[in-house]
Symmetry: C2
Subunit: 232 residues, 2 copies
């Protein structure tokens, strides 16, 4: 029989270690996460933490897993909260929740979407958790309406992808729309959290919202767009 008190103490120790690791991540980046330093701040010696994490890699793994869960929880909550609203408004809510999560903890966003850890391969459960975020987005897209066919090869691949995770009823055009919506949101967020917009001196939130509106209305009607095909 397992000792429940001990088990709880163990969980608390791991949680505290991860909390300090996140502080180090925010202050000094991934390479600034030091098992030794964490232990020191917890009042124990370095090797003591190896009772709780096999090594630095497992600690980082846990941080990644936690972040995926937290992101999925956040966007799912926003989707639930917007229940009953129009699809455009639900997309706006999703996009705002996504952005808020990202910009309030850029280091965590980068942990998920930035440079991958060397040699890291996401375990199956983490992949499934990551899909929860995408599913939340797919769930608020209108499934009816005009569905122009995509490139047939891509369509087939997307259908296979959706089928492999029990979302077989979603039309390929919706899958493509969801996927592309995500890449567009990420395109802006990624550049913002990695500081690329810093020296440019504009408000990234405005750019993000312009992108969201363009997503919703389509480029031809969105304010602030220029069709690249030009005047002719």
């Amino acid at each position: 029989m397992v000792n429940v008190r001990r088990e709880r103490f163990r969980e608390e120790t791991k949680t505290e270690a991860k909390r300090i690791a996140l502080e180090q991540l925010a202050e000094q980046g991934i390479s600034g996460i030091s098992v030794n330093a964490i232990a020191k701040r917890m009042g124990v010696t370095g090797p003591a933490l190896y009772r709780y994490f096999k090594g630095r890699d497992e600690l980082l793994n846990d941080l990644v897993r936690d972040a995926w869960h937290d992101l999925a929880d956040t966007v799912e909550a926003s989707v639930e909260a917007s229940e009953g609203a129009s699809p455009p408004d639900r997309v706006r809510a999703f996009a705002e929740a996504f952005r808020t999560w990202a910009v309030t903890q850029p280091h965590r966003y980068l942990l998920l979407f930035g440079t991958p850890l060397p040699g890291y391969h996401a375990p199956q459960d983490t992949i499934l958790t990551a899909h929860r975020t995408m599913s939340a987005l797919l769930g608020i897209l209108p499934h009816e309406g005009p569905h122009p066919a995509g490139p047939s090869t891509l369509d087939a691949q997307l259908v296979a992808w959706a089928g492999s995770r029990g979302e077989g009823e979603v039309p390929p055009a919706v899958l493509l729309t969801g996927l592309r919506a995500f890449t567009r949101l990420h395109g802006v967020l990624s550049l913002e959290v990695s500081g690329q917009f810093g020296p440019m001196g504009f408000d990234p939130a405005l750019l993000y919202r312009a992108e969201v509106e363009s997503l919703i209305l389509g480029d031809s009607e969105a304010r602030g767009s220029t069709r690249l095909s030009g005047p002719g």
Copy 2:
């Protein structure tokens, strides 16, 4: 008088060190770049390399600087090569050059656009080099045609940004279009090179090209899009 032979030898040594560093970067990520290991592979001892780089940070700095230059050279070459073609074709050429550069050396793309190095602030000359890539894109966008106004605040900020770098004659709508085109290309590329599409099993090139066509034609006409505003 500086010794030219010595100067050349010095440059060659630095170049070789950076070449090996890029190999380490590709194989083991940023944290896998080790001054000691580079020196060993060059047949000298560790501290010898400190005659050429103040430290690991300066070596990484140089890698970043080189990568920005290389990227700018690549896209500028594609822009020049497409001279005389229609704007849509020039955008296609730009996008293909951009993607090829990224996917043939994902680690370098991530060095520029992935998780920033802790404490790193791009020096002014690097920022200017980064802008060369954006300028190349702005240069092939049609400046005439319908120019719907963007959010006025953002427009003003973009004009200020362009003005600060001697591109005052570009209309704000074109700036916004160029910026958004870049974020959209980057959105797909970023997820591809960081391996996020890996477990999904579709061809990222097809998704990228669909995004490019949507960029050029506008969402309402692009194949494979669903307007998020739905059927009503």
